[in-house]
Symmetry: none
Subunit: 186 residues, 4 copies
Amino acid sequence: METKTSPKSSRTTIVETALELFARNGYDRTPISMIAREANVAQGLMYRYFTGKEALLKEIVEQSMTEVQSSLKVSTSGLPHEKLEEYLNNVVRMIRSNRDFWTLFYGLRSQPFVQELLGKEFADFQANAVSLLESFFDPRDPDAQRVEALLLYSIVDGICTSYALAPNADLYPIEDVKECVIDKYR
Amino acid sequence: METKTSPKSSRTTIVETALELFARNGYDRTPISMIAREANVAQGLMYRYFTGKEALLKEIVEQSMTEVQSSLKVSTSGLPHEKLEEYLNNVVRMIRSNRDFWTLFYGLRSQPFVQELLGKEFADFQANAVSLLESFFDPRDPDAQRVEALLLYSIVDGICTSYALAPNADLYPIEDVKECVIDKYR
Amino acid sequence: METKTSPKSSRTTIVETALELFARNGYDRTPISMIAREANVAQGLMYRYFTGKEALLKEIVEQSMTEVQSSLKVSTSGLPHEKLEEYLNNVVRMIRSNRDFWTLFYGLRSQPFVQELLGKEFADFQANAVSLLESFFDPRDPDAQRVEALLLYSIVDGICTSYALAPNADLYPIEDVKECVIDKYR
Amino acid sequence: METKTSPKSSRTTIVETALELFARNGYDRTPISMIAREANVAQGLMYRYFTGKEALLKEIVEQSMTEVQSSLKVSTSGLPHEKLEEYLNNVVRMIRSNRDFWTLFYGLRSQPFVQELLGKEFADFQANAVSLLESFFDPRDPDAQRVEALLLYSIVDGICTSYALAPNADLYPIEDVKECVIDKYR
DNA sequence: CATGAATGAGCATTCATTCAT
DNA sequence: TATGAATGAATGCTCATTCAT
């Protein structure tokens, strides 16, 4: 909600720099010293704002995930098929505007030590998403409904992963693939 | 599939132990000392067989990927739809019998530094897979054919990721999800 | 012995807080930041009043040692034995009313780096004390007189140390021990 | 119990160097890097033998205290007064041959953080000593006996402290002072 | 083949001190 | 006076790698 080019606070600079570097090099391969150098602040400064490197990571992830989650709401009215289309559009829009975060995210979630740090957040995020997706399917057969939601989640996840991890964003025609999915569910 | 209880060579023990520990703790969080301790060999021994830690990783991944690739062939004859079904069955069988490796794999491929080490192998693997999947679709519209293949690859990828990264293998009903996919492509 | 509730000056608060924390945690284990937090002042404020952490320590010790020294005078008249008794009473009274300082003192004087900072003060303090104690003994044999004074100094020192460093003030019956000393010198 | 000049192991060198430097500079003012440099080994080597800096300190202290304790036994027979004389002789002999350790000891025991690490050992050591000293006094009045023992302990402690902390061993005539104590208890 | 002692560069973190406001 | 953001040197510790045996 910032307006104008208010002088970015050191804290913000650190967070933004860290996100970028974590995404580019991986968390474990990004020393604090590198973040500090890139952000043009002293190494020690980080510790005024964060308990440690893990706390910095946690803040970055939690903050981004909150933003993401709120941008993935879909209209409550409309046909299931329309909602699905809206959802996919939202997802694609979001991942295209936040590629750094998603690269970081996919690099992190499979790291075992991160589970201890952020496992709860990840699980909640997924549960929320699956729960939303369930609303796209026929509730008369709950088992099938759940499997459908899980599959759709996996599809979206697979597409996003392919896109986020491709060496170059242009290499994966995410819009075409999205349309193809929409077709399948028509 | 070992025959007899042939005394496992140190080399084999190291590779197997490393795969397990890399999968459990992540590559960067698995010191050589830990592998040595767990494998009951001296720390220095690893350097007889491998140039270093990265070479060990490379060997593990290349070896497993070769095995995987050869187990994913599908019959050259048959209807597209039957081939797709056979393919999915193979994939699911394979990931269920090799969860360790796939956990490692999904934890690794998103790590930027691994790209330098194994990027070529990963790209080839994916290219091969996509190329195989293309044969399931109508060749008269090559663009659509490619998009369909990419989507199917992402779907399979998403399902495998969900399965491999779930805290517990039982939490993701991979068989049901697979059937659901087959249904969609019928 | 404060009169009124005169708003304690920041300087005084800092000194008092530092004494308490130094005594409780040791000088090297008490960061400036901790003193500032506990004293409810900004970290930087200390540097208005003191050149640095060592200067703060020096002030605390010198101030307390001056107070102590002046409270340890004994009557110039009276029998040696009476003067000794008076001296011991003064010492015990003083240490009981200032345990914080003495805990700090005994924790500091054995720290080598403190010698450079306060060695002179400590040596003077000890020289003064020994010189006073010499007056309790027969001057006709100066060597014996000196040894007696040194011994008495060590005794007092040993008792005070035992008392100040005991986990709990009640654990060392300093009054009884004092009487026992007086008896010996009767 | 080493005989010959068997090539000193790195471990031993580290322990000996550490004891000397801890005594000279204080524990907190002796970086691992300094110990390594002085011992002519790599910094990391210490961590093969000790969990960390504190473990190194603990080993040094425990080892020395065990040696000390066994060298302070006194004959079970003999008059109390003779036992006291023997005890004092032992103490003085021991402290003169181990000045480094005792300087360290007196610098440590008053450091609060050491209490957590070695408090138990220190308390046991003192309890043992006091218990031994009690045997020098008349058991018919247990209270007086205990006070006498505590006093004697404090005296010995005071003398040893004076000796160990004197800038120069020659500055404190420990033998004369000892004789003076023996006289007092005659 | 195998061992494990030894190395040294690299990392996260702490903390006394400075300085703009 | 007073604040607290910022600095940067120093410290304990880890770990991939080497090497003598």
